[in-house]
Structure formats: structure tokens, C-alpha cells
């Protein structure tokens, strides 16, 4: 087990307004979320001495404009002018989960006391994947000429392989979409709060990239979320009940850029990250009371459930049936609605919900007696990270 388990905690959490497209600069969303997280902790902004983010804009073909389409650490520093800042970082080999892990490391190293991590996501005007131009360079020269555009297609090809090799039926995924949408109705910050979804809606919805229909894809939105991390002893003096970090991991596998359609890239990525997390925390999948698994495209949940070890390969679509992922089920899943419910904010919201469930702060969607709270914070491939939070340090 990891000697640093339960030595760092997530304290406050914050949310901006989530809108379909940009009405105000993205920096304003990030600022709202960060202020919210700091206030939730009962801290003053001047207490914050660490900053971390992953500022990538996943929409291709759009300019990265700091403060408008991304919110970098520099942008946040310029806005906050923190008088006591001692540490900051932006990560690249993982998604936002890596920024959280770096903040954990900085807190353990004693180079900052209260770190804020945010994820701000922009929805550009016009087509999300803006793919003009007559040329395909780099890794795209082997994919773009065949009409492989956005990341949805990249994940869809692996999904057809998973479905047909396992003799599975994509309509079973309706259960995930519906259950998560019901969970969303307990999360007023979510884009689809107040918007129900029926099984018929799912089954009749238009195809986007088979096997993905509309409701297998998270809706692009503009918004931001943020967390305050601190050491466990400091967290106990703050307003919220701490969510202690029991362990974390990151994917340790990469296949050559441009190689798409490979299922093994998801499975190896997920299992390598989860193995570290199970070993460091001392828990196993059977110990988990509640799970958040990244669902930007629904099939990510399949790869997550299987590669993390919650069920065997080929079984995930059966595993999610029969009430197992309901709030009172055997493995309540994506209890905040997931990205399918909140809109595309990436994995920091999964981490936030993992922390809220561990600390008993999830309101009407709180899973009863939840202690061991698992998070898979992005697709197991390429950017995957995993976490376990607990309410009771050990």
C-alpha cells in the first residue's frame, strides 16, 4: 500500500454556469468555478498558493485563444494575482486527472498548501470538429482521407469490434444513457438538469457514427469546474468534510499516433492505471461503493468497467443492466449524470463527484453509506487516470 494514502484530500468544489455555446469568455466561467471552490472550502483567495490545469481544447480546427477558448495557468495567474502563490503546472500526457495528481504530489512535497485545479471547456461557434482544408498531414494522412474526422469515429471503430467480437447489442447501452439522465435530475449544475430521456428517445435517436447515436455522445458545452486540494490535516480544519485520496494511477501504455481502432489501447491503458490505484489503496473492485467512469462517449464506460476490473471483458453491457448502476444498486455509476448529463467538461467533474460521494456531500443523489469511491477520469486510452477517494481515512 501507498505510504501517502489519505494524506491529501479534496476539500471545496466549484461550478460555473454551463451553457450550450459561448455567451461570455471562458475565463469568466473558470473564475466562477474557482471562486466557488475556494468559498466552498471557507478559504480566502489569498490562501491559495498552488494552481494546476489541463487547458486543451478538444475541438479541432479552432484557434487556442487564452481566456476565450482555453484557460491556461498564466491566464488564471493574471486574473487572481495570488499574493502567496508558490507552485503551478500544466500537464500534457494525461487529461485533467494528471493536473490533480500533480497537485497531490506538490502538496505531499510541501511546496504548496492549498492548490486549486480547474477544467474549463469551450464550445466553439459552428462545427465542433472544424475540418476544412484540402490536405492531411502528420498522423492524419492515414486517416483523414478516408473520412475519419473527430474523436467519436476513433472510438466508434473500437466499439464495433467490441460489439461484434462479443456478440453484443448496442441497444443495451440505452440503460446507461437513461440511468445517467435520471441521476442528472439530482444535479442542478448539469446541462441536462430538468430534461428527461426515455428509452424510446434513445432507440429512435439519429445515428452520428455507428454504433454511436446522438445520446452516446456528450453534448459540447461551455463551462468550468474546480476543486481545492490540501493536505489531510489542513482539510480537517476546513468547512467541508474532506474526501481523502486513497490512491491514484495513470495509463502506462501508448500506441503509435494514428493507429486507430485498436481495442487493446483502451484495455491496456485502463488496466495499467487501475492496477496502480488498487495496489496503492489496497482496495479491489469488490470494495467499491460508488464509481464515476468517464463517459464522453458511452463506450468509454465499457472499456473502463472492463479494464479497471469491475467485470470481465465482453460483459460490460450486461453488467450495467438490472438496476446495478442505480443510486441504490450494487455499483452506483456516474451518479452526477456523467458527461452525458452535465455536458462535455471532461473528467474533473467525475473527480468532483467521486469526492462528494466519499465525503457524504452529494445531496439527494448521495449513495447510502458510501466510503470507497472510484473514479476513472478520462477514457482509458491516451489520457487515462484513475483515483480512489474515501470518507474514512485508514
Amino acid at each position: 500500500m501507498w505510504e501517502n494514502r489519505c494524506k491529501v484530500a479534496i476539500s471545496g468544489v466549484g461550478f460555473s454556469k454551463v451553457t450550450r455555446s459561448a455567451e461570455i469568455p471562458l475565463a469568466a466561467h473558470a473564475l466562477e468555478a474557482v471562486k466557488g471552490a475556494v468559498a466552498d472550502s471557507g478559504l480566502a483567495m489569498s490562501d491559495i498558493d498552488g494552481l494546476a490545469t489541463y487547458p486543451e481544447l478538444p475541438a479541432t480546427g479552432h484557434a487556442e485563444i487564452d481566456g476565450i477558448t482555453i484557460v491556461s495557468v498564466n491566464c488564471m495567474m493574471a486574473m487572481l494575482k495570488l499574493p502567496n502563490l508558490t507552485w503551478h503546472i500544466q500537464v500534457g500526457t494525461t487529461n485533467i486527472g494528471g493536473a490533480v495528481q500533480q497537485a497531490v504530489n506538490a502538496l505531499l512535497a510541501g511546496v504548496c498548501k492549498y492548490a486549486v485545479v480547474w477544467r474549463a471547456m469551450h464550445n466553439p461557434k459552428g462545427t465542433y470538429q472544424n475540418l476544412p482544408g484540402g490536405q492531411a498531414a502528420g498522423a492524419a494522412q492515414f486517416t483523414a482521407p478516408y473520412g475519419f474526422g473527430g474523436p467519436g469515429q476513433g472510438m466508434a471503430v473500437a466499439y464495433t469490434r467490441w460489439l461484434e467480437r462479443n456478440g453484443q447489442d448496442r441497444t443495451k447501452m440505452a440503460t446507461l444513457a437513461l440511468t445517467q439522465r435520471r441521476h442528472t435530475q439530482h444535479n442542478p449544475h448539469a446541462f441536462f438538469y430538468g430534461v428527461p430521456l426515455t428509452r424510446e428517445d434513445y432507440l429512435k435517436s439519429r445515428m452520428v457514427a455507428y454504433p454511436f447515436c446522438l445520446y452516446d455522445c456528450d453534448i459540447p458545452v461551455q463551462g468550468a469546474v474546480a476543486v481545492v486540494l490540501t493536505t489531510a490535516d489542513r482539510a480537517r480544519d476546513l468547512k467541508p468534510t474532506p474526501a481523502y485520496l486513497a490512491g491514484y494511477g495513470q495509463r502506462l501504455y501508448f500506441e503509435v499516433a494514428g493507429r486507430i481502432g485498436s481495442l487493446s489501447s483502451y484495455m491496456e491503458g485502463g488496466s495499467s492505471s487501475a492496477k496502480l490505484t488498487w495496489e496503492r489503496s489496497g482496495f479491489t473492485p469488490k470494495d467499491v461503493d460508488v464509481a464515476q467512469i468517464y463517459d464522453g462517449f458511452s463506450a468509454s464506460v465499457i472499456y473502463g468497467l472492463e479494464s479497471y476490473g469491475f467485470c470481465r471483458e465482453g460483459e460490460a453491457l450486461d453488467f450495467i443492466q438490472d438496476g446495478r448502476i442505480e443510486l441504490d444498486g450494487e455499483l452506483p455509476l456516474n451518479t452526477f449524470g456523467g458527461s452525458l448529463g452535465t455536458g462535455r467538461i471532461h473528467g474533473l467533474w467525475h473527480i468532483i463527484e467521486g469526492a462528494l460521494q466519499a465525503s457524504g456531500r452529494a445531496g439527494t443523489r448521495q449513495v447510502k453509506d458510501a466510503n470507497v469511491s472510484f473514479v476513472g477520469a478520462s477514457a482509458p486510452i491516451v489520457t487515462g487516470t484513475t483515483f480512489i477517494f474515501v470518507g474514512e481515512p485508514y
Binding site: Q135, A136, Y146, G149, G150, V157, A209, I260
Partner: protein, 148 residues
């Protein structure tokens, strides 16, 4: 059947690693990068052998028969260059001669509904312009009677 006639495919831009692949395709030959140390074929081309870290890599001709490894049917018309062809099948093919090397393509000369994991395909060549020819795929076995 998908109508490719109005599609404007982006033209591949060869680089120092990939030029031999495109030069061969122009001659109607499929050549993949092969490690001269361990014999492993790989695609897309890379700086080193992903199996043994060898750096002596050469392009060698391979037979164009293989199977559909994975596929997706594109319905979304967000990419205007391809909107005229939807729905269309974008496929990933694993060649018999190069296990583990995955080539993208479209399923030509067949309805998109014929794309299934495991179906046998063979390479065909689709010239885009004077410089670039795309390797593409078509089914080896005819569709079962009555199916379209």
C-alpha cells in the same frame, strides 16, 4: 451505396517517414515499414520498430489481403468534404501479411451495410491526383444472395 463522386478527400502530405508508402501506392503496390532486425511490419510508419526498438526500417511490399478489424458508419455531416457520401463505411483493416498493422480505408463497391468485423477484403488503389494514390479496400467475397 455511398456516392464518393462528390467527396473532396483531403490529400495526404507525405513526410520523410511516410514517403515510401505513398510512392509505392502510386505504383499500385502496398508497402509497409518493416524492421530489418526482427521482421515486424508496422503501420503507421514510425521512427523505430515498436516491437524491438530497432532503427533499421525499410519499406517492403505486402500482399493486400486481410480482414475488417473494426469499422464505423458515418452519418454525421459536420465534415462538409464527406457530407455527400453519408452514410459511408470507414474501416480498419488488418492484413494477413502484417498482423498488428492497422490500415484505414473505405469499403468501396459495396453497400455500407456490408461492413462487418472479420469480413475478407483486398486492397485496391484509388488515384487522387498525379502524386497521390490511396490504398482502399473492397470485399473479397460477394454479398450473400438477397442482401444489399
Amino acid at each position: 451505396m455511398s456516392d464518393w463522386s462528390k467527396v473532396t478527400r483531403p490529400i495526404p502530405v507525405p513526410n520523410e517517414w511516410t514517403k515510401p508508402f505513398w510512392d509505392a501506392a502510386k505504383r499500385g503496390v502496398l508497402e509497409l515499414q518493416r524492421c530489418q532486425s526482427c521482421g515486424h511490419f508496422q503501420h503507421p510508419p514510425y521512427a523505430t520498430c515498436v516491437k524491438c526498438m530497432g532503427i533499421d526500417l525499410k519499406f517492403e511490399a505486402v500482399r493486400g489481403g486481410g480482414a475488417i478489424y473494426a469499422y464505423t458508419i458515418m452519418y454525421h455531416t459536420g465534415d462538409k468534404r464527406f457530407a455527400a457520401a453519408v452514410p459511408y463505411a470507414s474501416i480498419i483493416v488488418e492484413l494477413d501479411a502484417a498482423p498488428g498493422a492497422l490500415l484505414a480505408g473505405n469499403l468501396l463497391d459495396a453497400p455500407y451495410t456490408q461492413a462487418k468485423v472479420g469480413r475478407r477484403v483486398e486492397v485496391v488503389f484509388e488515384p487522387l491526383n498525379d502524386d497521390i494514390t490511396l490504398p482502399q479496400f473492397r470485399l473479397l467475397d460477394a454479398a450473400p444472395a438477397g442482401q444489399t
